[in-house]
Symmetry: C2
Amino acid sequence: MADTHGSNSASPMFDQIDRALSQGLYVQVRRVLHQMLAADIALLLESSPPSTREILWQLSDANQHGEILDELNEEALASVLKMMDAEKLASTAQNMDVDDLAYVLRALPDSVYQDVLQQMQSQDRLRVEEALSYPEGSAGSIMNTDTTTIREDINVEVVLRYLRIKAELPEQTDTLYVVDAHDQLVGDVPLTTLLTVNPNLSVSEVMRSEVSTIVVDKPVQDIANLFGRHDWVSAPVVSAHGILLGRITIDDVVDIIQEQAEHRMMGMAGMDDDEDTFAPILTSTKRRTVWLAINLCAALIAASISNMFEATLAQIATLAVLMTIVPSMGGIAGNQTLALVIRALAVGHINDNNSKVLIAKEAGIGLLNGMLWASVVSGVVYFWKGDWTIAVILAVAMFINMAIGGLAGVCIPLLMKRFNIDPALAGGMALTTVTDVVGLFTFLGMATLVLA
Amino acid sequence: MADTHGSNSASPMFDQIDRALSQGLYVQVRRVLHQMLAADIALLLESSPPSTREILWQLSDANQHGEILDELNEEALASVLKMMDAEKLASTAQNMDVDDLAYVLRALPDSVYQDVLQQMQSQDRLRVEEALSYPEGSAGSIMNTDTTTIREDINVEVVLRYLRIKAELPEQTDTLYVVDAHDQLVGDVPLTTLLTVNPNLSVSEVMRSEVSTIVVDKPVQDIANLFGRHDWVSAPVVSAHGILLGRITIDDVVDIIQEQAEHRMMGMAGMDDDEDTFAPILTSTKRRTVWLAINLCAALIAASISNMFEATLAQIATLAVLMTIVPSMGGIAGNQTLALVIRALAVGHINDNNSKVLIAKEAGIGLLNGMLWASVVSGVVYFWKGDWTIAVILAVAMFINMAIGGLAGVCIPLLMKRFNIDPALAGGMALTTVTDVVGLFTFLGMATLVLA
């Protein structure tokens, strides 16, 4: 029996393709590509610089194109779509699931998108237009409409016969939905139930009537948490009036979970989670430059604080040597808290009842760690510079800055959340600015008062 | 029909419980808790400070305890286990799936763990000891052994009858596995196939013989990528000889994906992904202190660089005011690259063939952004300080540091990966140290050569 270990078995294929490409053996590249799974080809495309990507796309099997497009991340998708004309896209679209197709079409520029719709058969066009009518990021935008529905007054035996006539069930089907004459969802029957109950029972006798549903306008973030918490494999999507509209399956939710996690991690470094690993240099440079501009402002604010104390710095150069330690430690302490709070907000650990407890706890940790490291650093600096006054000033400034850092690490994301700013994106920069300003101001300010 | 919107419907319950707790109405707390899903109770426990957590645990339904324990994150789990004695734990363990139980038992201190095993019935003990015999983090440690197997020479009709006699299928079953007389996996039959084919066909005629399997010692990280890439809901786990040992289901994989993502995000801030949001202050302080110690060393290294140029700083205090800008911009540029590379490593975008392309690309971005921001900053500084020499020195230092930052941002994680160091954990600190040292050294060094 064939042992296809996915990514792992794909990696020798990646090597084969790389060798064949470098020798210009395109026939061989094509042969290997045609043996690969769509998901692995997508990974290969994402892992290739733009020029290779184009060659690989041309050599891949056109019948797999729909599946490959669906597996690509947003920016790699956009770069591949540029290689296709409207006609090709429309013919690729024919065999795709509605939710996957909606994902692909959303990546198209408006003009091309209209062209593609024109080329599509009217039935496909209607399906897609419906899927695109739900706002991006809502349950409707990721649901699939291929639910299998049954009525509650028939026997399981009849259902079984109906399924055999149907001869095929949509991918990832694990549950049949029971609806009334108005398409109102009244229950569901897992396939496992269908297979194990007495076929003479009626659907109403075997169905679960307490079904967890997702309303069509629910944001995808909440949906990801629901699936994660409740171990769902699929869930029905209903209108505000309980009409069954479609279903969301775990494979799409896994994609969302991964995107959200990437967004948090990449966002903290000022990066877009869509960023293509092998995007052209100019595109990436332009994209990252905004964040560098913001950071330059933050760095200039910090410099302007030191500038207030230029006279003191001119008098005692040792202060200049030591002054970077204070913002650094405050920033790290604050960042630890920030990461904890961003995670807690994402998984839903924080509510109005417990935020005060959290603020008190993090401020307490800041105070304790501040005390500890202030003592350590004063010892180190005395040993190094032989000056107790500067050592004590540094210790006090560091203590204050680490306590403020802890407090800011919890208050900044909570405030941002309240004003609908994404703390994963803006929290780190705001925090660092606070700890830079407070750290430099307390250290140089106290030094000016005491020493100058 | 009941509309249980999970976390969302749970949140009014959270408020009710909070009110009832603050008024000491424990009977009411108990009543609300008994209506809640285990997953929501776990979320509530994770969202509560330790004292409240203990009260809530005592008031919750003992029949739900197993499920709740399984849903808790590692550190919250450890804190709840401390409230239970070995006997209670053993009785809770009786109704748990092996993989869930293994997760819980791994969180116990050794002495208690032996006690709990003693208290368990011998059959349970054997099951658990087997699950615990696979190393943590391997496929074996998260697999469930409750596979449903069939033989290939029987008819589908017989399978259907067998399932009805069985009367129940294990949770999350979407596929039956076909094994030979030696338990060798020879194929699988999805439930959807079973329901749609002609019952007179034999299993060998309807089964898929090209089954993707997971070898029992495969690391869980790779498994998460496989599920994500191939949209699996479950996958069979086999021994090195192809013997079917169990199966891994998507719900456990979703947990792994979330943990890995948290690990990357929290790790970049020097935090443990297990960290309990409401851990006691002393525990958290102790845990975070290691990272602060490492950062203090890094900050002292940076300070010792400035210290080399103390004479120059004493001469020109403006250098002290401006010197923090250079490491800051280099650090941000490097961190952007670092985040991109850590993500790329995690999803498998980087291999031996393309790492050189990536290094060249990121170095290029660093050069371009370095040029751009060096020009901007020299203008700003000239305008501010009216000194072209210092402005140019700052620009050159910044250009060099941003280019090095980009290069370090890609080389550091690739090198760490090669030496099996986790770049998500140690990459940021190593990078910042490089950009601090290079930034301060180039800026102050050039200033000393030119101005002093």
